[in-house]
Amino acid sequence: AQTVTQSQPEMSVQEAETVTLSCTYDTSESDYYLFWYKQPPSRQMILVIRQEAYKQQNATENRFSVNFQKAAKSFSLKISDSQLGDAAMYFCAYRTRIMNNDMRFGAGTRLTVKP
């Protein structure tokens, strides 16, 4: 079974600094998707960034970028120029290409941004 591990329950960063959130996963599949979702307190879960496993190039969305290491099964999220609005719970998620129900979430990392 596929599992997703986020080893950092909590992280903090100073405003305007850079922070990296870690995620590793376990799978025997070769074709899959990886996601980072952001869930602010009492607010909606939104997609931050998505990576397709067959693409070697790391995904980037404005201040958010990933370091995707397929062989190591690692998928870290880098947030540059951190803002107060980045404070949230961040979930790493995995799903296979084939099945619609096979979305696996990590336990989450709570990010605090200090002014």
Binding site: M45, R50, N101, G108
Partner: protein, 115 residues
Amino acid sequence: DAMVIQNPRYQVTQFGKPVTLSCSQTLNHNVMYWYQQKSSQAPKLLFHYYDKDFNNEADTPDNFQSRRPNTSFCFLDIRSPGLGDAAMYLCATSGPGTGGGETQYFGPGTRLLVL
């Protein structure tokens, strides 16, 4: 804007009293999901609909049922809520044409309190 809507945002029910949570979407996605999320935990998939086909997770209690009368709406019925069912319930959708079909889009959630 196309979106996933959940009503109500907060629901209070009594122990053992049936309750129904609602989800609607304007994304015209063919897949709809229900997740249970307890405090500071990852979302846990309860079941999903692929079009009209219902897919139940093996460990979802029988106390939880779902209905999807049409593409836009999906309901979560809890027949006899227990104290342990107090949680945030998230609805999500996915479908072709938006995000490649593999990305799930979440509603704001309904927080259920069982007295």
